[in-house]
Amino acid sequence: MNSIVMLRRNFKHIARNPVSVFNAVLMPIVVMLMFVYMFGDAFSVGVDYVDYATPGLMLLAVCYGLGATATAVNSDMTKGIINRFKVMDVSRGAVLTGHVVASVLTNLVAIAALLGVAFLLGFSPSAGFLDWLGAAGLVVLLGFATGWLTIALGLAAKTPETAGLASVPLVMLPFFSSAIVPADKMGPGLKQFAEYQPFTPIIETLRGLLNGSPATGTLLAALGWCAGIAVVGYLWASSTFKKRA
């Protein structure tokens, strides 16, 4: 299977150049320590702050991993590696599939590390086994969807630097959602933006699942957004992959 060969290549890259993954794993933890440990007592959200913030930070952890994916895809594109694979008789999607899977696995490692720190800070979810399974599934779906979108960004960018830059909005977007503080505590304008942007229903669903009380409405919105992002990302990535030489 060509995709397995490509995935093995991605793993070797991560092993040789671990800085990018360190970044993806450490940054969310730093943000968590900053908000929960430093500001946590200053926020009044009705529940223990670490319980409120952890689901949002899980999403943040997914987004932080994307920068490395965008840069890696772009360097494959600009250095001619992708062209090399394209003129070989190999499955054309394999190189992109390898990047997506590596990206999702990086996300899972980052989230596992984040959850470990969250538990140390007193995180006490009331989720049952099925809720955890649902949360894991949603995180994988989110990583997959944003992963494809990031790959499209990486393929379309002219240089690895611009590719890294193009993923910054994805990293910033969680801050303007209900990840850190509830949307109804924000100023007008920002409040509406936070309520309707795609990450909010995803965070609310995660929050619900980890509280053991998932709400169907936000779940459907979350799944819809993930599916939409995945389709747009996949189509954009495929057409850029075909056209750009």
Binding site: R9, R16, N17, K79, R84, V87, D89, A245
Partner: protein, 308 residues
Amino acid sequence: MTDLAIKASGLRKAYQDKTVLDGVGLEVEAGTIFSLLGPNGAGKTTTVNILSTLIKADAGSVRVAGHDLTTQAKAVRAAIGVTGQFAAVDELLTGQENLQLMVDLSKQANKKSVGDLLERFELTEAAKKPASTYSGGMRRKLDLAMTLVGNPRIIFLDEPTTGLDPRSRRTMWTIIRDLVADGVTIFLTTQYLEEADQLADRIAVLDQGRLVAEGTAAELKRRIPGTHVRLRFATDGELDAAARILPGSTKEDDFLRVPSDGGTKSLRSLLDRLDEYALSAGEFSVHTPDLDDVFLALTGHATEVSAK
């Protein structure tokens, strides 16, 4: 009928309103080296990209290794190998891992070939070092070795020696000759007339998206001004006098062009003849034809892409 490895006709490609290829047709016999010669921006890389299935032409038909390029792209890819203008090696992997990656992805390769290729391209010592530490010449060699893993019958080499030092260039030439000796067909693009001259069975000259000449090196050279001597004199009188006594010479602007083979014997007799008539040139230089001369002769303009 001869066996054609590549047959293309009427290739056109434009990006927005810029025409890159304007009706290019070419035929490459199996087991030969075909060289596409042209300056930067002539459309060489675009031609290679089209012939190697990387991009689609706007118009034209191509058969590579007997397969139609548009309907049987997969079969074409299985038959070809491409080494692009910039060595496409994975810098984070070692030389050996780069080759192994190609072996893992290729259907035709056999397991032994990694060690063989490393040895053949003198990369055994560096095999365990990451490709990012390789010199330009080593990268090109690794790139070509990676291309050879699938045992391609037709190999596209896009400017394989641009940016290489003279020694690495000669090594690359030897490698290319060995490949053809094994029966492989080579499609080579180059900016250097000397390279085409050294390697190619047939040369096509590409200029601004059109083929302006095609033939063997000898045929092309007959069409361009040969080696000659340029003499510059202090006065027009001396220039005219020299033109009268030197057979075959022509006046150009303010200098005299005298055909010569560039050898010491003919140069000495030329100088002796000037002495005989007490003429002395202020400037003396020997010119051998280069790509600029070919272009000037074939297209009437210099190799720089003129601003339109």
